[in-house]
Symmetry: C2
Subunit: 378 residues, 2 copies
């Protein structure tokens, strides 16, 4: 019997926002949650103990990158990603499709799969639904993804319809190839912002009965209003008793809009990427630590924050580290931004459980001058 | 009354090797010891807690670099280096002289001090004995250094003699300028490998009565046999009840040769610098983690090692991280190499206390094919 499951705890009485528990072979985690991204089997600069201290739930890692380096056979021989990384918490891997469509060159899509040249050495490689499953079986994450096509946005209805049909056939093939009950395989809803295609894709996937569903095609350059429409068009057709994962979305406004609509899981490289360049997420909005005004500021990044960095280091010191391109600076800023988003989801869960999520979201948007159409969040 | 002092615990009955306790305002530390280098107020990638876990004693930081960034006034306003870095252990700063002589351009030495263009933006700067003290007073390390000239090796006897005389006048000026009894100012013995100049310099500094003495000019490209002669020529003239610091030397063979001669303190960027490039110090000698033979090696770097990295990560994972230029890899390898040298000094202290240091050193040299003339250590 599968060790994976989802318990719905509470649905906000005024919105689709909900809290739940995701059960995995590596422990239970609360939703809604933000998942730190560890592309190459490491959240850059951050240790597993630091992930625990920041109360991270699931960690995400990228199949495409690990396929290239170190190769899934190395991770398999190590006993899987958890042992390889020394991480004793749930891990999610994507299918590799998104990177093939965003990083690789000379892509050629056929019914069988995708041929492409990898971005490291240009070698020609081939990814099929079955190959994506085999790699992810070898990596051994708790949650894995079907191979999907991620079409450019916008695409024509004709193109998108054909793409969705292929993604559905790929989902079926992946499901048939996947034989490890300790890994939960999610289907991915595509269809751009075409309501009929999102509906068709979602319903067909639900008919296949996946243990969870992802909403894809949501980080390919569309505006925020379109993103929210994509969620609306997809989520209404998904069962309430299964987890929903909005792929690659992690700005604060999009997280809150996603939660409002019933999304349970989020991930994004944004908080760690901007951290490495000196940009911090705070209760007062974005902060560029390089700014000269921080030179003699011996207070923390954010007095509201309980992270290791804010408890121990000053803005002045962090500014110095980032200006000198010191790895400890990139480490400390990454820890802060991740904890900031994780703490936000803790507050979100509490607000939902107290049936005041819409007030929480409205107050948050008002304070930070966010809106539901085109704000960039922070 | 000064909070600084040195207690000689035991001298090996067959050599000059000795154990002791260095007393500082930030705690007592055992000698002989290896001091991790935190050039820019951070041991690259490594946190203060990790320094504690590896049982680091004193941490070294570089006055020249901190003078340029963030500027000593920022550190002073933070309450000194300890508060700035969040480090609650003894810190040592050098005088800035070595970097002026090795990194900066267009140096011009006069009796007053050194004019130079800094290596960051080419601005003309001036470092005098008094300025070196003022900066170090502002930085607030427990142990600070006199400004000395670091002549090239080899230099003529005439040049070196004039240089030593100037270094002695600078030492006197620095001592007069230094008025903070919470910081112990060390004098630096120079003189190249000229026995008469080392003797003259050491005796003149001892007459000035510093709380500790450094042996300088020892990391400017001389061979190992010359280095050991420099130590011999200097140390015989230094008092037994004061600590001796061999500047910038940290290869295993040189540490053991230094200890044999009565050196108490060592520092070197070598262990962390080579770590960041994938080279590890192990009980079996150097190991290049990038080597293909580590691809499927799921054992630790060194089964003899008790460091965080060896307790938690495999060679295969570390190889992957370093190949991918991941900061976590540089962090984990730095922790290992530092702990390796710190553990070596723990074994050294035990061997001295048991009057078997020469056997310990001989066995170590034999195992690792080291010699007292030209081995490079590891």
């Amino acid at each position: 019997m599968s060790k994976f499951g989802f318990t719905l705890l509470h649905t906000d009485k005024n919105s689709g926002a909900r809290t739940g528990i995701l059960h995995t072979p590596h422990g239970d985690v609360l939703t809604p949650m933000f998942m730190p991204v560890g592309t190459l089997a490491t959240v850059k600069f951050v240790s597993p103990e630091e992930l625990t201290a920041m109360k991270a739930g699931v960690i995400l890692s990228n199949t495409y990158h690990l396929w290239l380096r170190p190769g899934e056979q190395v991770v398999k021989a190590a006993g899987g990603l958890h042992k390889f990384m020394n991480v004793d918490r749930p891990i999610l891997t994507d299918s590799g499709g998104f990177q093939v469509f965003s990083l690789a060159d000379s892509r050629k899509i056929t019914e069988e799969g995708v041929t492409f040249k990898n971005h490291l050495n240009g070698d020609t490689m081939f990814l099929s639904p079955e190959k994506a499953i085999q790699i992810q079986n070898d990596l051994g994450a708790d949650i894995i993804m079907s191979l999907d096509e991620c079409p450019a946005y916008p695409s024509t209805h004709n193109y998108m319809k054909a793409s969705v049909e292929r993604t559905l056939r790929w989902a079926k093939r992946g499901k048939e190839a996947h034989q490890n009950e300790n890994q939960a395989l999610f289907g991915i809803v595509q269809g751009g912002d075409y309501a009929d295609l999102r509906e068709h894709c979602a319903k067909a996937l639900v008919d296949m009965d996946f243990p969870g569903y992802s909403i894809g095609g949501t980080s390919v350059g569309e505006d925020k209003a379109t993103l929210y429409r994509m969620i609306d068009h997809s989520i209404v057709h998904l069962p309430t008793h299964k987890p929903r994962y909005l792929m690659g979305v992690g700005s604060t406004d999009a997280i809150l809009e996603g939660v409002l609509r019933g999304v349970d899981m989020f991930d994004c490289v944004l908080p760690t990427r901007i951290a490495r360049h000196g940009t911090l997420m705070t209760s007062e909005g974005r902060l560029n630590i390089r700014n000269a005004k921080n030179e003699m500021d011996f207070g923390p990044i954010d007095p509201q924050c309980d992270c290791y960095t804010c408890q121990n280091y000053s803005r002045a010191y962090l500014r110095h580290l980032i200006r000198c391109d010191e790895g400890l600076g990139q480490r400390l800023l990454s820890i802060h931004n991740l904890r900031f988003l994780i703490k936000l989801t803790e507050e979100v869960r509490q607000a939902i459980n107290e049936d005041r999520f819409t007030e929480f979201k409205d107050a948050y948007f008002k304070k930070h001058h966010l809106n539901s159409v085109n704000s960039r969040g922070f």
